[in-house]
Every structure is written in C-alpha cells, then in structure tokens.
C-alpha cells in the first residue's frame, strides 16, 4: 500500500532523515516513534508531499508520487499533496477557527468534483459516525482538545483517503482522556479500514495501535517490526520508552549460543541476545537492557567483584501508591529500580548510610545493538 524507498530529507544539505525505507500494508496502522526532533514530522510531511526529499521514492497505492534521482538529486516526479490520496492531521489539528465544525469538515471535500448534495451527505455521515453532529454549528475554539482532534480527523477522512497521516494526535490531550480517545480512534480506523501512519512519542500508542512499529532515532529508521515484543526489542529509544534501563558495555566473551559476557565499567554481566540474530565479535560496543522490576538491591558495596552485581549509589526515592521507585547511579549511568513496598521497608534504614549493590537476574538482561551517532550499527 505504502512503500518508502531510501528517502532522505534535508535542508541546506544537512540531512534531517536519511535513507528511510519501509512498507506499510493495506489497512495497517503503523506507529512511528522517536524522540523529539528525530524527524517523525519531516517523514510524515515528505509522504504528504509538504516537503520535498533530496532522494528516494514514495509509492502510495501503486502510484509513484515522488521520485528523485539518488545521485543528481533531480526530482523526476513530485505529485502535489492533494493528488496523493492522503488525509493529513497535524499535531495542532490546524482547524479554521472562523468556520464551524461542519464547515471545517466540508473543506475536506471542497475540491472534490461531486455534487453538493453528495458532499452534504458525506459530511453528515462522518459527523454522525464520530459523534460530532451536536457540535456541527460550533466554532472550534469552543471545543475541547479531544473534540478538536476528532474534527481534524473527520476533515481528513471525509474524502476517503487511501492513506491517513496523523502527527502526534494525542500530544495535546490530557492523560485522563487519552484511553477513551485512543479507543475511539482505533474503532474508527478499523471500520474505515484506512491505512494509517501515526507519529507519536508515547510508547502507549504502540501498544494500542499495534500493527507495525517504526522507530526513528539519529535520523535513521532503527526499528521496524510488526509488533512490540521483548524478542524484537533492539532499539535503545524504544527500550527506554518502555521503562527499561540501558547501559553501555563491550562484548568480552561468547559463553554459549546467544549468551555473552558484557563488560560494564569494571563488572561482568551475563546477558542474552534475544533480538540480535548475528554473532557478536569480542570488543564490540553494545547496550544491555533490563527492566526496572524484579531486581535485587542489597546494602553494602559487594559489587564489581561478582558477575551481574553492580555498585550503585542512591540518588532519589519516589514514593508511589503501591511501590517505590529508586533512582540509582551506576557510574556513569542513571538507572531506575522499582521495589515492592515490603522490600523497600526492609532496606530503608540502611540505604542512606552506605553504597548499594544491585543484582541483575541473568534471565532479565538482554543485549541490543548500539547505534553510534553516525547511524551505523556496531554490533
């Protein structure tokens, strides 16, 4: 349905995203993740035709909509946005405040060559489906963020686009309203069967709209998988978003297939490679990841001498309703440990006096690839 091949976008010869390639199947929802300023919006705009890539090719529903020669950078084909069959919803929703909700949605059909009666009917049915009829004569500034988002989506889908591009649809929605809106959007996308790309920096969206997860970090696509699972998790940003701790280390020794000793500072950690299929060479730079739960923390500095035990010092304690989150420093990294209340009460009196030892259960530690800033994988 959508094919993006080797797309590079840049301004004044400084690339913003480089050599991005992926495919999205018909009806699929692709969640495009990445930290702020990683190029998510730029990629969305390149697909929409709002920015012109330096090279690459974009195919929507079998039609080439953009093509530029890789070497000369000459643009061979660049279909204007409104002829690409896309619906676009920017992160600020971009509603026209002088028009009513109905008129805003009607703009989605303004340039379509169908009768005005047909237009009226289409707008009416979209408004009804999205539960917006009762707001149809209101101006957008009187609406909540959630309703504004719905109006913007209604405007984008009323012309039945082949591809819907949503840029951070939930970024201005308050956390309490997000689940209900996510549910409604999911229902909408399923019933309209629109192929969708949704940019987000909230990993929660990846779980809700699981279909395909793409991650952009350091200008490149660093993760592309049909779904989020611990076995496919090989991206540092994604791991951090999911609450994993990430430490940098070097491969020291291969002890068994998929099992390696990794040197973290002066400590050896035994870790497995669940997501990396290839052999890792000794000395190569990797990241190890482990969750914040199920770890053991004991007072005293016994670490560094034994495998999987790290010396740590306590930075901060965040008391939660049912557990306690500790911020620790494992030089030079900062890590997060979630302890059940009971365990915390046992060590509470001692943790401030002495340094601590963090024990990592062997089955909880995984190796993922380490991407250098130049975008090349070292592992």
């Amino acid at each position: 349905m959508l094919t993006v091949e080797g797309i590079t976008v840049g301004f004044n010869n400084v690339p913003i995203i480089e050599d991005i390639s992926f495919q999205v199947k018909k009806g699929e929802t692709a969640v495009l993740m990445g930290p702020n300023a990683s190029g998510k919006t730029t990629l969305i705009k390149a697909i929409a035709g709002l920015v012109t890539p330096l090279k690459g090719r974009i195919i929507i529903d079998g039609n080439i909509v953009f093509e530029a020669n890789g070497n000369s950078g000459r643009v061979i084909l660049n279909t204007p946005p409104h002829l690409r069959g896309i619906g676009y919803v920017p992160s600020d929703y971009a509603l026209f405040n002088h028009l009513t909700v109905r008129e805003n949605v009607m703009l989605g059909l303004a340039k379509k060559s169908i009768s005005s009666q047909e237009k009226e009917e289409k707008v009416k049915s979209v408004l009804e489906f999205m539960g917006l009829e009762k707001y149809s004569n209101m101006k957008p500034h009187a609406l909540s963020s959630g309703l504004k988002q719905k109006v913007a989506i209604a405007r984008a889908i009323v012309a039945e686009p082949k591809l819907l591009l949503l840029d951070e649809p939930f970024s201005s929605i308050d956390p309490a309203s997000k689940p209900a809106l996510r549910y409604e959007l999911k229902k909408l996308l399923n019933s309209y069967k629109i192929t969708t790309i949704m940019a987000t920096h909230d990993v929660e969206d990846a779980f809700w709209f699981q279909g395909r997860v793409l991650v952009l970090t350091g200008k490149r696509l660093t993760y592309d998988s049909p779904l989020l699972s611990i076995d496919t998790l090989n991206d540092e940003y994604l791991a951090k978003s999911l609450g994993f701790n990430v430490l940098e280390g070097r491969i020291v020794q291969n002890v068994a297939p998929g099992k390696y000793y990794v040197e973290i500072g002066s400590t050896m950690v035994l870790a497995r490679t669940s997501s990396i299929r290839k052999e890792l060479t000794n000395g190569s730079l990797v990241n190890i990841i482990f969750p914040s739960t199920g770890l053991k923390l004991i007072p005293g500095c016994e670490g560094n001498s034994r495998v999987n035990s790290l010396n740590a010092s306590l930075l901060d304690v965040i008391e939660r309703l049912d557990h306690v989150t500790l911020m620790l420093e494992v030089d030079p990294f900062k890590i997060k440990v979630d302890l059940p209340r009971g365990e915390w009460e046992n060590i509470r009196s001692e943790v401030f006096k002495t340094c601590l030892t963090l024990l990592l259960p062997e089955n909880k530690v995984s190796i993922i690839e380490k991407y250098e800033p130049n975008g090349e994988g070292n592992a």
Partner: protein
C-alpha cells in the same frame, strides 16, 4: 462597566477631556448662525472628495499590498531587510517630502512625463489618489506582513493537502479567517489617506473645486480668517471621522 478601578478613572478623564475639547469646536460652530457662503458648499465638496479618494486609495493599496505582504511573510529572501527599508521610505518621510518626490518625477522624468500626460496626475484627482497610495502602501505592507506571519504553517499545509493553492488559500481561507484584523488594516490605510495634507496638496495642486480635500480645505478656510467657518469645517471633519470609526468597528465584529 464593572467597579471603579484606577484604570477606569483614568479612562474616564481621557474621555471627558476629549469631549470638552471637541465640544468647544462644536459649540462654536453651532451656537452662532452660519454665514451662508460659497465656502460652505466647497467644504461639503471637499468632504466628498476626501471620502472618495480615500476609499479608492484603500481599495488599490489593499489589492497590491496583501499579496506582496503574504509573499514577504512566507519568504526568507536574502536582502529582504534592504527591500523592506526601500519600500518603507514614504512611511518615515514627511508627506510633503513624498509629494515633492512624486512631483519631480512626474514633471522631470521622461517616463514620468508620459505617465502624467496620459493619466492626468499632476494637479488632478488621480494625483491625490496616487499621493495617498504612495503614503499608505508602506503602512499596509508592514501591517499585513506582520499579520500574515501569525498564520500557523500547519494551517497552510492542511490547506495544501485539501487542494488549495497558496493564493487561493490566502483569499478563500486566511483573509476571511482574519476579517477583523483585515478591517483594522484597511482602517489604517484609510486614515493615512484621509488625513493627508502635504502630499495631496503638492501633487493635486489644491485647485478650488477640483483637488481640495478636507484637510486642504481646512487650511484654506483658516487662511480666510473666519473662525466660525473653521469650527464648522472641523465639526464636519470630526463627525465624518467618528462615522468611519464606528462603521469600522461594526465591520470588525
């Protein structure tokens, strides 16, 4: 009105002060029987000429400045500052200096002479309009460029995905959405044109019965020396100004 705050007291004093000042003029004009003179008729004609030329100027200036301002607001041209400064010169110069510059162009430059002969500019109605346009254009350009910079890029992008070209989006979507601000801009242009004395006098020539706008008429009446007639002319001027401002504020809604 709400409670009595220092701000409302200050505002009250300003309004009172203005009413007393204007009231004096009105009192003088209407407490004494008006001598019926030819000048009275000429003041009326001047008022009509002023409104007429200022409306034409406003239309022309908005038509030209809005697209240029939009283009300015969307471009990051090299040398933009120099270009803006050049276009803004009449904004800083005194109106009579602008009038003199135009006059020299139309009587001394060969191209200016041809234009003058074919269009009838110096000492003519068109001259007044041209002088007013020359003065008002930079104001419109500065104002509308600043206004269009406030249009979020995302609105423009959405308009493009919906099939609106840049120009069409400007006229069909953005201008209607900025109606109150556009009306305010039009008022700025109108005020500059309506209030001009120097440039209109120099290029229009101040020919009685032909090119005497209201500000020029006031000057002439004052020279004539009848204070009652001056007060009468001023009262008409003030009433006209009030009417224009009132109509504008209705349009702005």
């Amino acid at each position: 009105m709400g409670e009595l705050t220092p701000l409302t007291i200050v505002a009250g004093f300003i309004i009172l002060f203005e009413l007393i000042i204007l009231g004096t003029v009105f009192y003088l004009a209407f407490s004494t029987p008006l001598p019926i003179t030819e000048l009275l008729q000429e003041i009326k004609e001047s008022a009509i000429l002023s409104v007429e030329t200022s409306l034409i100027t406003t239309t022309i200036v908005l038509m030209i400045s809005i697209p240029i301002a939009y283009w300015f607001s969307r471009q990051d041209l090299k040398g933009k500052q120099a270009l803006r400064a050049l276009l803004g010169i009449p904004y800083i110069l005194s109106p009579s200096a602008s009038g003199l510059i135009l006059l020299i162009f139309f009587v001394r430059n060969p191209f200016g002479k041809i234009l003058n002969e074919s269009l009838g500019i110096v000492n003519d109605f068109n001259g007044i309009v041209l002088a007013q346009c020359f003065l008002a254009f930079p104001i419109a350009l500065i104002y509308f460029t600043a206004l269009f910079k406030t249009i979020p890029q995302s609105l423009e992008e959405v308009a493009r995905t919906l099939g609106y070209g840049r120009v069409e989006a400007l006229y069909r979507i953005f201008l209607p959405s900025l109606k109150p601000q556009v009306v305010s801009g039009a008022l700025l242009v109108f005020a500059r044109a309506f209030g001009d004395f120097g440039a209109s006098l120099i290029l229009g020539g101040g020919i009685r019965g032909r090119t005497v706008t209201l500000p020029i008429a006031l000057y002439f009446v004052n020279q004539y020396g009848d204070i009652i007639l001056v007060a009468y002319a001023l009262s008409s001027y003030v009433l006209l100004a009030y009417l224009i401002l009132f109509l504008t504020s209705i349009l702005e809604r």
